[in-house]
Amino acid sequence: MSNHYDRRSFLKAAGSVAAIGALPVTMVELAFAKPTENFTFAYISDAHIQHIRGTKFVNNWDRGLIRAVAEANLMTPPPDFVMFGGDLAQLGTQPELDHGAGMLAKLNAPLKVVMGEHDYYLDLGEYWSKLFGPQYYSFDHKGVHFVVLNSILTTDEWTFNRWPTPEQRMLEMAGLDNPNGSPFMVGEKQRDWLAKDLAKVTKDTPVVVFSHSPIQKIYKGWNFWTDDAEQVQALLKPFDKVNVIYGHVHQIQYNQIGNISFNSVMATAWPWPYPQSYAQAEQYLPKLTIPMNRADPFFERDATGWQMVNVNTGRVDLAYNLYNNKPRVVGFDPKLGHPVDKDLQSVALEPNRTHY
C-alpha cells in the first residue's frame, strides 16, 4: 500500500474525473452516453460531529469533515452539487448540528442533506429541519429524478412511548450494537408520498434514491437494515434504471436486486467492521461486495473518506477517495447488469488481502 495520498495526485484525479467524465483508476465510459447528460456530484457522509463540552468537539471527527469539504471544493470543474448522507451529529444536539453545518457551509457547490439517526432521535429532527429543510423530498437534475428519503424512522411505540427522556432515546439509538435499539424503516406515510412522487415520473427516467440506511437487509444487529426495504423496492421496480446510494455503514458495499443497484458511501469519521467480522452474527453481506481491506487505526483518517459520483446515462460510478488505501471505483457494468469494482472484481484476491 505505497499509494500515498497527496494533494497533487488528488488534484490530478479530480481533474481527470471531471474533464473526461470517467474515473481515475479504470476509465469506463458507456458507449451510448450522451455527454450532455453526464455529470458529477460529490458525496460526503457520516461525520458524527461529537460535542465534548463548551466549545470542545472530538478533534478526530472534525478533521474528517473539514478535509472532505476542502477536497470537494478542489474538484475542477466543480461538482453539480454535494450530498451529505446523514449523521452529521453524534447525539443530535444543537451545538453538534451547528458546528457541522458551519463546516458544510464552506462548500462551494449547492448542498443537499439526508437525515441520519444520530441527527434525529434527540428532537425528532426539529432542529435539523430548521437548518436543512424537509426530511424527505425529490428534485430533478439533468434528466435524472433524485429522491431523498428519511429511512431511519422506527415504530411509534419505540419513538414515543418507551424512553423517559429524549436524551435517553438518542443514546439508545446511537449505540450501533445496542440491543435496545429498533429497526429502521421508511414507514407508510413516506411510502405513500414516494408512490405519488414517482407516479409523475416516466419509467425510462433514471431514478437515484438517497437514504441513510441501506434499503436492503444486510445485518439487523447493527441496523445495516431497513425493515420495509421490500416495500420501498417494490415502488422502484417499474423503473428501468434505479440506483440507491446509502450511508450509515461506514464501509464500501454494493449490490444488485432486480433493477436496483445499491452503493454505499464511506464515513468521514471512522470505519466500521464488516458484519462477518462479528463471529456471533448471522448476516447477509451482498455476495457482490468485495470488502475493503483492513483499517489501520494508527493512521487517524484510514478507512474513512468521501466519494465522487459520476452519473452516466442514469447509472452511477462511485470513485472512493480513500486516504491510506488504494483508491477504489465501484460502478455499474452494463454487460453484467450490476455494480462491480473496476479493479478488484475480476482478479483473484491477493492471499494477504484480508489481514488484521
Binding site: 461529537q50 470542545k56 472530538v58 450501533l176 471512522w270 467492521p273 452474527a281 488484521y356
Partner: protein, 138 residues
C-alpha cells in the same frame, strides 16, 4: 464426596485434605453448581467489560470503544500477542487497548492488571468466542 481414607502412609495427606477442604472436594471433583458459579463470575466480568466498552467515561472525550468496534468486532483478540509494527514490538491485547484509550479516546491508560482492563479483555474475547487462536496473525 467423602474423604474417608485409611492407611498410615496417607496420614499427612489426609490431614491436609481435612484442613483445606471443609466441603471435602478434590480438584477433580466439581458439581453443576460449581460450574454455574464460575460461569456467573466470568459473565459478571464480561458484563462489566461491555459496560466499559460502551461507556463515554472510559476516555476523556466521550468517545467509546464501541463507536468503532460494535460488539468488539475488529479487535481480534485471537491474534494477540503479535508484532504491532506501529508500536515496534510484540504486544498483548491490553497494550493495544491502552493505545486506543490514549489516542482515539484521549484518556489515561489503565493498569494492565486492573479489574477494568480484565473486564475489557474478557468482553472482547467473549464476543470472539469460537474463533480459533491465531497468535501473531496479521
Amino acid at each position: 464426596m467423602s474423604t474417608k481414607i485409611v492407611g498410615r502412609s496417607l496420614a499427612v495427606a489426609v490431614g491436609a485434605a481435612l484442613l483445606l477442604g471443609s466441603a471435602g472436594v478434590r480438584a477433580d471433583e466439581f458439581t453443576k453448581q460449581d460450574m454455574e458459579r464460575w460461569n456467573a463470575q466470568f459473565m459478571q466480568v464480561v458484563q462489566k467489560g461491555r459496560e466499559l466498552w460502551t461507556s463515554p467515561e472510559l476516555g476523556k472525550n466521550g468517545v467509546a470503544c464501541a463507536q468503532c468496534h460494535p460488539n468488539a468486532a475488529n479487535s481480534h483478540p485471537e491474534t494477540y500477542p503479535k508484532f504491532q509494527k506501529q508500536i515496534g514490538k510484540v504486544v498483548t491485547l491490553p497494550e493495544m487497548i491502552n493505545w486506543c484509550i490514549r489516542n482515539p479516546l484521549e484518556g489515561q491508560p489503565l493498569d494492565v492488571d486492573s479489574p477494568e482492563m480484565t473486564a475489557l479483555v474478557a468482553y472482547a474475547t467473549y464476543e470472539r468466542r469460537g474463533v480459533k487462536l491465531e497468535p501473531g496473525k496479521h
